[in-house]
């Protein structure tokens, strides 16, 4: 009998708190988005699962000695996991479209306005009773506007670890929603004639350019923004492994097994921050709300920048590719292509949109570095 009573005391049923139940439902919601709706499943599936595990009473997954505790402190608190992911993403990225049409970097720059506008918005949310974001918190939230998962996780783990869960959920959810959020904004800000603009074929890019490019980016980051070098450096390492052509086995491992292993644990670790104390509050609602705004502003900024450039440039730019500047590689580029095809069935913008798309990744990493340098101390 004693034994049965001990067993009962050790059951989940006897120990559940309401917050834990709600957070498990949230975790199941993330699994649903990942599996049924195909929302960024590579991260949301392990993240949703981690959210369930971390909220199991008695089991202690995120307490000292628990699996998620080890994962979080070894891989996320140190920043190692997002950096490894970034190296893998670098090894997957082809900068040809960007080097072939460097002006698209300006589109990637403009789209970062989504980040800084969100920062403003986060501070404004302090008017709401119960929300009290410091400048660090606001900066970590703002990076959602960068539409880049690893960058958001890296910055949040440095500036506002207690908001990491909500920020990661918002970042990945809105990245998955890009095909829904962007098109209306793109259509609203462009005329049918603009959307029909056909772009000149990209010039061919030589091997030497692709090898020197990541080194040049790294060098500039070292000169002007050392605080961004962890992100940019690992990204450039991955890209250099890819383009150098002499370490194909390392490049392949970085793009496949290493990034896969890290993604599983990154997802679980981020999920472990989805505890009820950290997530079930009005601040999370604020973050989720700001995320939608951030993406919209970033999209609009990119499109408007492209329209502005068209006033000065001899070579016409289809303003739709400006929307790809928010990063969210390669989804945003595909969206630009799709909206372009609606207007002009012979107009394939995909390759042209890849330029601002990868420029957006660099732009977000630079923005993250600025925030780290200015508010991270």
């Amino acid at each position: 009998m004693d034994s049965l009573y001990t067993l009962w005391l050790s059951t989940g049923l006897a120990n559940f708190e309401l917050g834990q139940v709600i957070m498990m439902v949230v975790g199941c919601g993330l699994l649903y988005l990942a599996i049924a709706r195909n929302f960024e499943p590579l991260l949301l599936l392990p993240m949703g699962f981690g959210a369930i595990l971390t909220n199991i009473p008695v089991a202690g997954f995120s307490e000292a000695g628990g699996l998620l505790h080890y994962i979080y402190y070894a891989g996320i608190d140190t920043g190692i996991f997002p950096l490894i992911i970034f190296m893998g993403v670098g090894a997957m990225t082809d900068f040809s479209a960007l080097i072939g049409n460097p002006k698209t970097l300006l589109l990637g720059a403009a789209a970062q306005f989504g980040i800084f506008a969100t920062l403003f918005g986060a501070i404004a949310l302090n008017y709401v009773p119960g929300i009290e974001f410091t400048l660090k918190d606001a900066s970590a939230i703002a990076i959602i506007g960068g539409a880049d998962g690893p960058t958001a996780i890296f910055l949040a783990s440095k500036l506002a670890p207690e908001l990491l869960g909500a920020i990661a959920v918002a970042a990945y959810s809105y990245m998955a929603l890009v095909p829904i959020i962007q098109p209306p904004i793109m259509r609203a800000l462009t005329t049918d004639k603009e959307r029909k603009i056909e772009m000149a074929q990209l010039r061919p890019v030589t091997k030497i350019e692709k090898i020197i490019f990541p080194l040049g980016v790294l060098l500039m980051t070292i000169f002007f923004l050392p605080s961004a070098t962890p992100l940019v450096g690992m990204f450039c390492l991955g890209n250099l492994m890819r383009e150098s052509g002499v370490v194909d086995r390392l490049s392949s491992t970085a793009q496949n097994e290493l990034i896969n292993i890290t993604t599983i644990f990154l997802g679980l670790g981020v999920g472990s921050k989805l505890s009820s104390e950290a997530f079930l509050n009005v601040e999370t609602l604020g973050i989720l709300g700001l995320g939608a705004v951030a993406f919209s502003i970033g999209t609009a900024s990119g499109v408007l920048m492209a329209k502005l450039m068209n006033k000065f440039s001899k070579v016409p730019i289809n303003p739709l590719i400006g929307a790809a500047g928010v990063s969210a590689v390669p989804m945003a580029a595909r969206v630009a292509n799709k909206v372009g095809l609606e207007a002009n069935p012979h107009n394939f913008l995909l390759m042209h949109a890849m330029g601002p798309n990868v420029a957006g990744v660099l732009g977000s990493a630079v923005a993250a570095g600025i925030l780290l340098a200015l508010v991270g101390t």
Partner: protein, 90 residues
């Protein structure tokens, strides 16, 4: 000046400094591409690969008719790896 005002001021400064910096940074990158990389591209062009129609044809016929030893070994390698991956592991 109250606290909120100061926070807005800070956020505004951040926004301004940040956007300026992002634009300057990526603009320098444009210059870098248009000068350094462009020069490098001219100085070190990619080796021109003559797409010999002969070898192309050969490789087509290889696939269609008989398979080259390299492909055979690749296939057998794939079979091997497939088996290795599906062996017991627990």
């Amino acid at each position: 000046m109250n606290n909120m005002q100061q926070q807005f001021l800070e956020a505004g400064t951040l926004m301004l400094a940040g956007m300026v910096f992002v634009f300057v940074f990526l603009s320098i990158l444009i210059i870098f591409i248009n000068t350094v990389l462009a020069k490098l591209a001219i100085k070190f062009p990619d080796p021109v690969v003559v797409p010999s129609s002969r070898t192309n044809k050969k490789s087509n016929s290889q696939v269609a008719g008989k398979v080259s030893p390299a492909i055979v070994s690749a296939i057998s390698g794939a079979v091997k790896r497939y088996r290795a991956q599906h062996g017991q592991a627990k």
